[in-house]
């Protein structure tokens, strides 16, 4: 039998194995430290998911409006944009002749007039309650030129014709909530402008749209003139949606200057709306980020404390290791690996929790504020998780430096004596 000792090419593996076994020594303490790291990482991952998810949701929701530019009544443009994204009250209307004035502008590629009204809904799934429904009066050909992706659910109908005043098309969420099929009736109470009593309308469902993941899912569509008539605003519009032939900052500025001459009108670029909405939420994100950073710092201090305690408890052992041949670098590597193992385990566990808990996080965030977009606003991607794990490794690298240096600097004679 050959009993000669041979060079080992897997020393790193041996050190990792040794680090694991050392951490097992104080299981509760190690588990608590890993939990601390996990909690901090879960917060960081959720924040990352929120930043990415919200930006994606804003971009998606605004892109799915189909316009580049909106012309609307003067007021807060962002409130108006939010209204278009998710509905609401406090609607303002364009003067009746705005459409005629604007539609022949040579810079416009396409234009669609939209009337938005809020109806009181009765006969819902919960009969005892009354709900509000957003009604969009639209001109179908121009509206579809902006949103060519709108399709009906399989075998679920057609668009209404302008001559059919009592026909409606339902967004998928409305249809599901109301349990309506094509051919069913849809009842709504609409208070005409200038009146105090609502008028009951029995409308006919002629189509149900496939899910688009946008505000359209929660909207009831009517012919433009029918909607305006029902709300007793026969010549008014809420929004003109536009696409320009050439859309860039310069053409947008020129277009805006051109139509600012209309006294009651404002021109809003949806790109500006995107930027502003994102920057508004960035404040909240910054606050959450600050909390996440504090959590990470606390977790790191916990890691450093745990490893330092572990180093001091093992003073004698470290002395023996040095006596039996461990170099400074070997001890440094061992302690540093223990820190890294804690941070990596914590980051993986935190990422898993964040991944599976993203639904809860989204609910919690939505309960704090109205973010004005449909679809998921917390999007935890493999990229976010990857960055979190990489970040934890980097933090683990730095957190491990001091304890590892302390351990590596121990002199064997003193260590063995102190550890006795």
């Amino acid at each position: 039998m050959d009993t000669r000792l041979k060079e080992d090419h897997f020393t790193l593996f041996r050190y990792v194995s040794l680090a694991f076994k050392n951490l097992r020594r104080r299981m509760v303490r190690t588990a608590l430290t890993i939990s601390g790291v996990g909690l901090a990482v879960a917060m960081a991952v959720s924040l990352g998911g929120f930043v990415m998810g919200y930006q994606g949701a804003i971009n998606r929701s605004i892109d799915m409006l189909g316009f580049q530019v909106m012309i609307m009544a003067k007021g807060c443009p962002y409130e108006a944009a939010t209204l278009m994204l998710k509905g609401g009250t406090g609607l303002m209307y364009l003067p009746g002749d705005t459409y005629e004035k604007v539609k022949n502008d040579p810079d416009i590629e396409s234009i669609t007039p939209i009337f938005v009204g809020i109806a009181l809904k009765e006969g819902t799934a919960k009969d005892s309650e009354k709900t509000f429904t957003i009604i969009n009066g639209i001109d179908v050909p121009s509206f579809l030129s902006m949103k060519p992706w709108l399709k009906f659910q399989s075998g679920s109908g057609r668009w209404f014709s302008p001559q059919s005043p009592d026909e409606v098309v339902l967004g998928s969420e409305v249809a599901a909530f109301e349990h309506r099929q094509v051919g069913d009736s849809f009842e709504a109470n609409i208070t005409p402008y200038g009146k105090t009593e609502a008028v009951h309308h029995q409308l006919k469902v002629v189509g149900i749209l496939a899910q688009a993941g946008t505000q359209d899912d929660g909207t009831v569509f009517m012919p433009l003139d029918s909607a305006r008539s029902a709300f007793n605003r026969p010549r008014q519009l809420t929004i003109l949606g536009l696409k320009l032939k050439q859309f860039n900052a310069a053409t947008m500025r020129d277009f805006e200057n051109k139509w600012l001459k209309l006294p009651e009108v404002q021109v809003v670029s949806l790109q500006q709306v995107k930027t502003t909405l994102i920057s508004l939420v960035a404040t909240a994100q910054t606050m959450i980020a600050a909390v996440a950073v504090i959590a990470v710092i606390v977790a790191l201090i916990g890691v450093i404390n745990t490893i330092l305690m572990s180093v001091y408890e093992r003073t004698g052992e470290i002395g023996i290791m040095k006596a039996i041949g461990a170099r400074r670098g070997d001890i440094f590597q061992l302690i540093w690996l223990e820190t890294l193992v804690i941070c990596l385990f914590g980051s993986v566990i935190g990422s898993i929790f964040a991944w599976f808990g993203s639904g809860l996080v989204e609910k919690a965030i939505r309960s704090l504020a109205d973010f004005g977009v449909s679809g998921s606003i917390v999007l935890i991607t493999p990229g976010v998780v990857g960055y979190a794990i990489l970040g934890s490794a980097v933090l683990g690298f730095f957190a491990g430096l001091y304890p590892a240096w302390r351990a590596a600097s121990m002199r064997p004679v003193e260590s063995i004596r102190e550890g006795a």
Binding site: T11, I320, A326, D330
Partner: protein, 227 residues
């Protein structure tokens, strides 16, 4: 005449405690050859542990010269002393300092990790057989008696095939019978060519060595060669 494995001349180790200089060791000559067991005796504070730390390159002398396995270690830094120790010196201490989460076998193989050598189960078993613990290979330290733990520490020291075994109070925590068996094992090892330096308070054990060096106040009081 054979070259000694360790040869030290005029070793001094002085410490500063405030304005006071403590002469823990004050001019000691020492040598040991292969297959020889030397015990260092003396009362507490006589300099036994200081001497053994210097001889085993765990500490550097304030003055004096020393060669270990033919290499001069005079003036070497702590990092350079590690390189001298690696593979040449094995250690056994009064406190065993076994890693509690490693099995007996893993504890014995630990020095190989630090020397960048592959685990060698067959050799580990041979070493464990030598110290009489082959049947405890998969046990954890907490499942062993004090004597068994000291044997594991001896096996750990022997695993790297050292030329010199340094044992500082190896029987300090053991009962008489266990201490005798450890000394019996040391004698066997010297017959295989291992040089052993031992410090002990136990005169009976100490006088079982080939040579006995007695220290007092950091100096050699007497040196006796046993038959």
């Amino acid at each position: 005449m054979k070259t000694p494995l360790i040869e030290a001349r005029g070793l001094k180790r002085h410490y500063h405690r405030g304005s006071e200089t403590v002469k823990a060791l004050d001019g000691v000559d020492f040598s040991i050859h292969s297959g020889e067991m030397v015990s260092v005796l003396g009362p507490s504070g006589s300099g036994k542990t200081t001497l053994i730390n210097l001889l085993s390159c765990l500490d550097a002398p304030t003055e004096g010269t020393m060669t270990v396995a033919g290499k001069s270690v005079t003036g070497l830094s702590e990092d350079q002393l590690v390189e001298v120790r690696r593979g040449v010196l094995g250690f056994v201490f009064q406190q065993f300092h076994l890693l509690p989460t490693l099995t007996v076998m893993e504890n014995v193989e630990l020095p190989l990790t630090f020397l960048g050598l592959k685990p060698h189960p067959q050799r580990t078993k041979e070493v464990l057989k030598l110290v009489g613990l082959l049947d405890r290979a998969s046990h954890l330290p907490k499942e062993l008696s004090g004597g068994q733990m000291q044997r594991v520490a001896i096996a750990r020291a022997l695993m790297i095939e050292p030329k010199i075994l340094v044992a500082d109070e190896p029987t300090g925590n053991l009962d008489k019978a266990t201490g005798e068996s450890i000394f019996g094992l040391f004698k066997e090892l010297t017959q295989k060519g291992l040089a052993i330096i031992i410090t002990t308070h136990n005169m009976a054990f100490g006088y079982e060595a080939d040579r006995v060096v007695t220290l007092e106040d950091g100096r050699i009081l007497k040196e006796e060669k046993r038959a």
